[in-house]
């Protein structure tokens, strides 16, 4: 390759990296500045970070929003991993005509836009509220329930199960393990990459979910982080320092989950793409 071409490749990638990183740098810098300095476009870190933090925690229910978001994301992710991996395994290992038809029908649900489900789901939870108010409208469980399994994750696990060595199942049967025992003791431990990739995606989706909580959550104490940030951002006299602080706090968990598990993520994704 000639030098000019190499130069342009690095130039393009550097610009792309800068554009991608700039909003992150901006929010980190702004978190440390006063609202006035932020509106003037200060790119220098300031010393206002503790004021911003105490302002945020004193005036807004960030603590409960963090708790709610963690609660929703963790429960939904754990349930999603268990239920989807069971189903993906079931579809792949116990193949039959009937199950393949069911699988195709399940996949069709991926085409259903959430906007079409929003109103009927809201009414469904309204009905649930009459019988079990604890999981009805304006509860964290109502946020979780529609997301504990989606066809995407069932599909994802089935695709990855194609690469699982089926001989291990026979070996397990010979050793006298029950079918469910094989699933938990042989299959799941060998699917770490897939579990990690699915776990990251599910955690992020649930942590970042906005529209459904916006519809189903009413009381401030049940607010999630995206609802809080959205409310802060639509205020008429925004305190930018406080808003950016909230955004940084709301982004740390997903960033951490990604960076801790990114090795598995890329491998898990590759698995699903190959299938």
């Amino acid at each position: 390759m000639n030098k000019l071409k190499v130069f342009f490749i690095y130039l393009i990638l550097s610009v792309a990296a800068l554009v991608s990183l700039f909003p992150f740098l901006w929010m980190l810098i702004s978190m440390t500045n006063k609202s006035v300095d932020i509106t003037q476009g200060s790119l220098m870190p300031g010393t206002h970070i503790f004021e911003n933090l105490s302002n945020l925690f004193e005036n807004y229910s960030v603590g409960s929003a963090l708790f709610n978001s963690f609660f929703i994301a963790i429960i939904a992710t754990v349930l999603c991993l268990v239920i989807s991996s069971l189903a993906g395994y079931g579809f792949e290992v116990y193949q039959s005509k009937g199950k393949d038809i069911v699988f195709t029908i399940l996949l069709l649900s991926m085409m259903i836009p959430f906007a079409a489900l929003m109103v009927p789901l809201f009414r469904l939870f309204g009905n649930i509220s009459q019988v079990f108010p604890a999981i009805g409208v304006d509860t964290l469980y109502a946020v979780i329930l529609p997301y504990v399994t989606t066809a995407f994750f069932v599909f994802f696990f089935r695709q990855n199960t194609k690469m699982f060595t089926k001989d291990l199942i026979e070996a397990g049967r010979i050793d006298g393990l029950s079918e469910i025992g094989i699933f938990f003791r042989i299959y799941l431990p060998s699917m770490k990459n897939t579990l990690a990739a699915a776990g990251i995606i599910s955690f992020m989706n649930n942590w970042n979910n906005y529209l459904w909580p916006l519809v189903i959550i009413q009381s401030p104490e049940n607010q999630t982080i995206p609802l809080l940030i959205s409310n802060l951002g639509s205020g008429y006299t925004p305190d930018y320092g406080v808003i950016y602080t909230a955004i940084v706090i709301g982004t740390i968990p997903t960033a951490l989950v990604f960076f801790l598990l990114q090795r598995y993520f890329v491998e898990g994704m590759t698995g699903s793409v190959k299938g």
């Binding site: 109103v119 982004t251 997903t254």
Partner: protein, 290 residues
């Protein structure tokens, strides 16, 4: 594999919970939406009105604007993003490239931030006295600030810039994963035959990536047809209704205005139908019909 009947029953038990949940939270509401779309009325007093909601839809200027806006986002943003993602993945796939991990992580990073959070950041970055305008003014690329949030044209451009920023790196990861399966010797052979970089890209890379292009095109199309968080938090659908999307209109009809669930359901079927049409077109273009 031939299964004994007891094994087959166990197999059904494995998939049972998923089937129940997906039926209850996807198919049942979908059916309800269909029934709702033939009914009308305020709040909970609904009566059967046949196709009235669908007729109303075609005479509703706001609905038509929302559909038009969604189409604009789709037609401009999805191809631009997919080309960019492919382009970056090809650059990053170069075996001699240094700092590869840094570039890859940096370009992917927007995918970890929540849609609401980045929307709020973009709203401020692109405000009239925001840092993007300051930057463009300093470079003398513009002589007066652009009204990103107030101008019908620039507001749409802003939404498109925002979505592209958020999703390009995410899609790039799929291409990178797929490119890693492509044998480098194919490129070496092409070079020997005198193919330049563009020819290699169009005659080797694109055909190899076809299944992934199809996958990302369909998921991005479905995502764009459902666009909500960004216009809601960046422009609130404004100015006027110039950035309003179909999802946002459905939300407004159901929860912001006097609720008209029946009409909202009818509007939501526009997205269902568009999703099906676009997916079918892309499967056609994507070639292998399995």
């Amino acid at each position: 594999m031939k299964l004994g009947s007891s094994k087959s029953i166990i197999g059904w038990l494995f998939i049972l919970i998923a089937v129940i949940f997906i039926s209850l939270f996807y198919f049942y509401p979908m059916l309800q939406a269909l029934i709702l779309s033939f009914r009308s009325g305020m709040g909970l007093n609904l009566e059967f009105v046949g196709l009235d909601n669908y007729i109303r839809l075609f005479n509703d200027p706001v609905a038509l604007t929302a559909i038009r806006n969604t189409f604009i986002y789709l037609i401009v943003q999805v191809p631009v993003m997919i080309l960019l993602a492919m382009f970056f993945s090809v650059l990053l796939n170069n075996p001699n490239l240094k700092f590869k991990a840094f570039f890859r992580t940096a370009i992917f990073l927007p995918a970890v931030i929540s849609l609401v959070a980045y929307s709020v950041i973009f709203k401020y970055l692109f405000s009239t006295d925001g840092i993007i305008n300051k930057f463009l003014l300093n470079l003398s690329l513009i002589s007066e600030p652009i009204e990103w949030l107030m101008d019908p044209f620039w507001a749409k451009v802003l939404i498109i810039i925002a979505i592209t920023w958020r999703w390009t790196g995410y899609n790039m990861i799929f291409y990178l994963a797929a490119l890693q399966n492509v044998d480098h010797s194919v490129y070496e052979a092409a070079k020997m035959d005198g193919a330049n970089s563009f020819q290699q890209f169009f005659y080797i890379t694109i055909p190899m990536l076809k299944p992934i292009i199809l996958f990302t095109a369909i998921t991005s199309t479905i995502g764009t047809l459902q666009l909500f968080d960004e216009p809601m938090n960046i422009t609130r659908g404004g100015p006027g209704n110039e950035t309003l999307t179909i999802s946002q209109y459905i939300y407004n009809l159901s929860f912001e205005y006097t609720p008209d669930f029946g009409y909202a359901a009818a509007v939501s079927f526009v997205i269902v139908i568009l999703t099906i049409i676009f997916s079918m077109i892309q499967f056609r273009l994507g070639g292998d019909r399995k």
